[in-house]
Structures are given as C-alpha cells and as structure tokens.
C-alpha cells in the first residue's frame, strides 16, 4: 500500500547520482525526489553541475554512479538552455517533427494543443528563425512538452528574456504545473527560484549543499533574505 502511494506521488527520484568526466567530478552523490505537480529549482554558482545534473535526469548523459527512476527519456520533457529547434522549419513543423520522434500517438492533436497553450496559433506557419527570442523559447518549451511528459526539465529557461517575456513564460509553465506536471529548472535568478519553486537544490562544485524549501534555506543560513541566505550558505561551506 505504501509502495503504491509512492508510485502515484513521486514523479522523479535520484539516489546517489554522480558524474565524472576524465577524472573530474562534475556531480557527486546527489539524491532527491520530485513529486507530481512539484517545482524544483536547481541553484548554484557557475560550474556547480546544474546542467550536468539536468542532462542526466533527461537521459542525455549516463550517470557514472547512482540510480534514477524513471531512467532514460520516457516521460521526461527536456528544454535545453539554448533553443534546440530547427530555425528553417515553421513552429507547427517543429512541433509535428518532435511529436513523431517522441512517439506521440496523435501528433496533430498534440501540435494543436501546444499551439493553443503557447498562444502561437496565429504564427504556426512562421519559420522559427523569424520569431523573437521569447517566442522561440516558448516553442522550445512546447517541444519539451509535446509528449505530455510527467516531468519537465528546463535549463535556465528565462536566461535571455526580458521581464515581460519571463512573466509570460512562467504563466505558461504554471499552467502545466497546475495540470500535474512536475518541473525541475536550473537558474541563476534566486528571486525566480523563490517565486516559482517549492523546493531548492543548492549545488556547488558538483556537491549538493542543500535540499529544502526557500524558507528552510533562510533558516539554515540564519538570514531573512534568500539572496543573502544563498551566499551565506555557500561561504559557510567554503565555496
């Protein structure tokens, strides 16, 4: 009974996940669980191992050690930091292509749903190369969501967007969260992490320094402000 309850609520589970590149440790012994409809923010300084961890979770990199459930790409949507779509193809063509590659049973329905959710139906025949950075990123995320995954992984999704585009993008992501999609995203924006994430995973030099809610991070660092708490915890752990 307890096991079936876990299967229902846990969307992603990592246990002792590590990755080494030619003797260099990029990620070391990271463990966490992501429940259905939960949002996890991966924060940490540059080179902390956030992208490596997300790549392992997405099935793009094989871990050197540790376990992942589910393993591989099934049921997981992946949105890399740089838009990974074909600029010469239209929005609809990109969505249709990835729907077929993901093995979606009704690709046209999925394309319709994504055009609706991104608000880009009017521009569905426009080549992606002619879109603004914000719209390109929306198509990039829509491609990650085309197979209606249980978990959506985003690597710095708002890094190149202005505040208005960021707000619109988070509206779009939150709609999916409300529908039960779990989200893990990497970011340098502590405010963004505080605003949208229920859990924070703090990485530095590949090591997991903290896992908990934003409020718990402030308590652990004895700081009232999340920005200062983040810096204080890094300093306290010698980073």
């Amino acid at each position: 009974m307890a096991r079936s309850a876990k299967l229902v609520t846990v969307a992603l589970e990592a246990a002792g996940l590590s990755k080494r590149f030619a003797g260099r440790v990029a990620v070391h012994n990271v463990s966490f669980t992501l429940k259905a409809g939960e949002v996890l923010a991966l924060i940490g300084p540059n080179g902390a191992g956030k992208t490596t961890l997300l790549s392992m979770l997405a099935g793009g990199l094989a871990p050197s050690a540790g376990e992942l459930h589910p393993s591989g790409a099934a049921g997981i949507g992946w949105v890399p930091q740089q838009t990974a779509i074909y600029s010469k193809l239209s929005i609809a063509e990109n969505l249709r292509l990835f729907a077929r590659l993901e093995g979606v049973t009704e690709p046209e329905t999925a394309v319709d749903a994504m055009l609706e959710q991104t608000g880009l139906r009017e521009r569905s025949d426009d080549a992606v190369g002619r879109l603004s950075g914000g719209n390109r990123q929306r198509v990039n995320i829509a491609v990650g969501l085309i197979a209606n995954p249980a978990v959506l992984l985003l690597d710095e999704p708002t890094a190149s967007l202005d505040p208005r585009q960021r707000a619109r993008l988070w509206e779009f992501i939150n709609l999916r969260v409300a529908a039960g999609t779990s989200v893990a995203f990497a970011t340098h924006e502590i405010g963004e992490a505080e605003r949208y994430a229920s859990q924070l995973l703090l990485l530095a030099d590949g090591e997991m320094l903290f896992l908990g809610s934003p409020a718990e991070l402030c308590t652990a660092a004895q700081e009232g402000n999340l920005d200062r708490a983040f810096l204080a915890l890094l300093a306290a752990r010698g980073h």
């Binding site: 790549s55 997405a58 099935g59 793009g60 990199l61 591989g72 790409a73 099934a74 992946w78 890399p80 740089q82 838009t83 990974a84 779509i85 074909y86 600029s87 990835f98 590659l101 993901e102 491609v143």
Partner: protein, 445 residues
C-alpha cells in the same frame, strides 16, 4: 606593443589547439610537400621498365654497305624515359602491374631480322596497366622519341635502298653471303636489247617478244629512279605495338568522364552529409535528438543516406547526360549505378565523420574542401611517375580516402578497367565501416 601582445595571444591559442594546428598548418604542409614532389618528378621522365631482348651479337644489322646499331636507337628512347632495367619480360610485366613503373618497353629479339627483311614495319612492345593517365603520359614520350629514331633509321634504310636501286639501274658488284656477283643493270640490259633488236630481221619470230622486254626495260629505267622518293617517304620502319596488362585500355576521354562524375559525387555527398550533421549542432538539436529519440547510429545513417541518395541521383543523371555525347555503353548502366551507390555511401560516411568534428556548417564546408581537393589530386598521380617510396605514401593516403576507390569502381563499371568493380566495392565497404566507426567516436557526448 599591442601587436606583440596579440601575436603572443594567438600563438598561445594555436599551441593549445592541436587539432587546429594539424588541420591548418601541418596537413597543408604535408599535402603541399607530397604534391610538390609529385609535380617536380612528373611527368618529364616517366619510369619505364626496359628490356632489350636482342642478343648482343645481333645488335648491329648490316644492310648493304650500311650498318645499323640498335643501341643508338635505344639511347634515343632513353632520352624520353627513366629506364628501369629488367632482365625478363615477366619482371617487366610485374613492375607495370605493381605500379613500380608507368609502362614497360620491350625490344623483341626479332627486331633486327624484321628490319633486315624490310618486309614491313618492325615492332617494339609497349605495355601499359590500363590506366588512361599512365598511358597518355608514356605514349606521348615514347612516340615522340620513336618518331625521331625513325627519321634517322628511315634515312639509313633509304640510303641502303638507294644503293640497291643504283645497282639495279646501272649494275655493279653485289656482295651477298660472302660471295660477289656482277649485276648487269637495267640500263646496260636495255642497251644490249636495243643492239640485238637492230640486228634482227623484221620477220624474226623472237622479235615481238624482245620488243616487249625492251619496252619494259625502258619503262623500268625511266621510273625506278622515281621510287627513291617513295622509299624516302617510308617514315616509320619501327612502330610501337601497344598492349595492356589487364586486357582493356580506358581511353583518356572516357577516363575523364569517370573522374568528372567521381568528383561531383564526392562533393555532393561529403558536403551534404557533413553540412547536415553540423547543422544539428548549430541548431543545438543534437542533444535533444540523442536523449533517446534517435540513436547515434540512426542519426549518422540518416545523414549519410540522405547525402548518398542525392549524390547518386545527380551523378547518375550526369553520367547519362554525358553518355549522349561520349559513347559509354548504356548496357552497363546497372553497374554504373552500383559503382555510384558504393562511392556515394563511402563519401556520405566520410561526410558524417567530418561533420561530427565541427560545430558549424561553414566550418564543415571548409574542412571538406581543405581535405578533399588535395587528396583528389594525389589520387590522380600516375604510378611510376614518382619515386617508388613517394608513390607508396601517396597510395596509402589515397587508399584511406574514398576518391580513388570510387574512381576505380566507376572506371570499372563504365570502361571495364582494372581493378574490378567487385574489389573496388569491397574497398569502399571497408572505408564505410571505418568512417562509420570514426563518426560514432567523434559524436560521443
């Protein structure tokens, strides 16, 4: 100061980019040296296996009062080639077959007898390996020198013939097989006949026959002198008798067709395959595709196949189009297609290997041009036109790049040349496997 700082920075970057240094500096230097050596040693003196089968005791031919020394004409030919002396006909053929020499030039033992009999032209044997470029290279050199030798020889033979004509006309002593004969000569014979006829009665029964002989003698005396010019015009006492080891010679024009189609095939397939794979990196879609949507092998195979099919269609249409102007034998079109498919797949696989090494389409195109063009040139260097060691280096480089094998496959399919289509296709299959493995390694995450 700023210049020195920038220079220092760039040198440091180059020192830390070994692949870039190899590609931009070492590779062009190596290729330039090879091409330079190939150009400097060809095609002035092609290496030709030389065998003189005439016994030393028979190397001087006596015709009338003239003596013809065959070694003199041997020297004439050596001015046009770099002779590689061999002792047997089998060794000469082996040297041509192995590519140690461009061709073999053999002076057969019966040459003195053929010249002495003057029954027709005498022959020297020139043997090629079927390679059109090789053949063109040697043919020109040997035929030019043979023409010079023939001028000298024809003059000598003409003098001998003149002597015989004089003897027939005016008479004299003829020395033959150690004996001496007194030849009357047509002029004297005609005088004697005229004197006899003047003394014969008109009713003599032999008069009619003698009148006919007298008329012949007059005509012979009047016309035999003119035959000197005719004999002088015989310009080729010795001709080259050409043959090909593998049986069939590819005419240079048809070989050029195979080269042109192979070059097109190469550029279309390599540029398309490398460009399409590099485009995946440029668009950042490679990571997305490889996280379980498609395997590395599927991705590489798709790009190589797309490039190969495109190149096959264009090259086959091109070959058929050329066939409208050059007689190519459309009955072998199935084999053309087979050869083009083999070459296109090999070039496509090489293309994905190159595309896997770079991040941008423009860089892929540059890499393809940088690598391919010099290798095409090296693949066309004829065997025997450069030193053996250098040719071995060129042969190894050409063997690991699909152009030579593709050209051989197409030449075999179009012109029935050697090596056979099957062996060229086997070579291409090995290259496809090798470059496929290389591309997989290069595309590792």
């Amino acid at each position: 100061m700023a210049l020195r700082t920038l220079l220092g920075k760039d040198l440091r970057i180059l020192a830390r980019s070994p692949v870039l240094v190899v590609l931009l500096i070492a590779y062009p230097v190596v290729i330039a040296v090879l091409i330079g050596l190939a150009l400097s040693s060809s095609p002035a003196l092609p290496r030709v296996a030389f065998l003189n089968e005439i016994a030393p005791s028979q190397s001087t031919i006596t015709l009338g009062n003239e003596q013809i020394h065959t070694t003199r004409y041997e020297r004439e030919l050596f001015a046009a080639i770099q002779p590689v002396m061999v002792s047997t006909r089998a060794q000469a053929l082996a040297d041509v077959r192995d590519g140690k020499t461009v061709a073999a030039l053999i002076i057969p033992p019966e040459l003195p007898e053929q010249l002495a009999n003057a029954a027709g032209s005498a022959y020297v044997d020139v043997i090629y390996n079927g390679d059109a470029i090789n053949q063109a290279l040697v043919e020109e050199a040997i035929e030019s020198k043979l023409a010079q030798a023939n001028v000298l020889l024809a003059a000598q033979l003409s003098r001998v013939a003149d002597g015989y004509i004089d003897l027939l006309l005016t008479g004299g002593d003829l020395h033959f097989l150690g004996s001496s004969f007194d030849v009357l000569g047509l002029v004297h014979a005609q005088s004697i006949l005229a004197a006899v006829l003047s003394r014969l009665p008109p009713s003599s029964p032999v008069r009619h026959a003698l009148v006919q002989v007298d008329a012949f003698a007059k005509i012979a005396v009047a016309n035999l002198g003119g035959s000197r010019q005719v004999i002088g015009a015989v310009a080729a006492p010795v001709v080259a008798r050409e043959s090909v080891i593998s049986g069939r010679r590819t005419p240079l024009s048809e070989y050029a067709v195979a080269v042109a189609v192979s070059v097109s095939l190469m550029f279309i397939a390599i540029l398309l395959a490398s460009g399409m794979l590099a485009l995946e990196r440029e668009e950042n879609t490679l990571g997305r595709l490889r996280r379980g949507l498609v395997s590395t092998t599927q991705l590489l195979a798709e790009k190589a196949l797309l490039a190969a099919v495109t190149a096959v269609v264009v090259s086959f249409v091109m070959l058929c189009g050329i066939g409208l102007f050059v007689p190519l034998g459309f009955g072998r079109a199935g084999l053309w297609l087979l050869a083009i498919c083999g070459g296109a797949l090999a070039f496509g696989t090489l293309g994905v290997a190159m595309g896997a090494l770079v991040r941008e389409v423009r860089a892929a195109s540059l890499l393809v041009l940088l690598v391919s063009l010099p290798l095409v040139f090296l693949a066309l260097v004829p065997s025997g036109s450069v030193s053996g060691g250098l040719y071995d280096v060129i042969r190894v480089i050409s063997a690991v790049f699909p152009f030579k094998a593709s050209l051989e496959a197409l030449d075999a399919a179009v012109n029935q040349s050697q090596p056979s289509l099957a062996s060229a296709l086997a070579h291409l299959a090995a290259l496809i496997a090798g470059f496929g493995a290389l591309a997989r390694v290069a595309l590792r995450p």
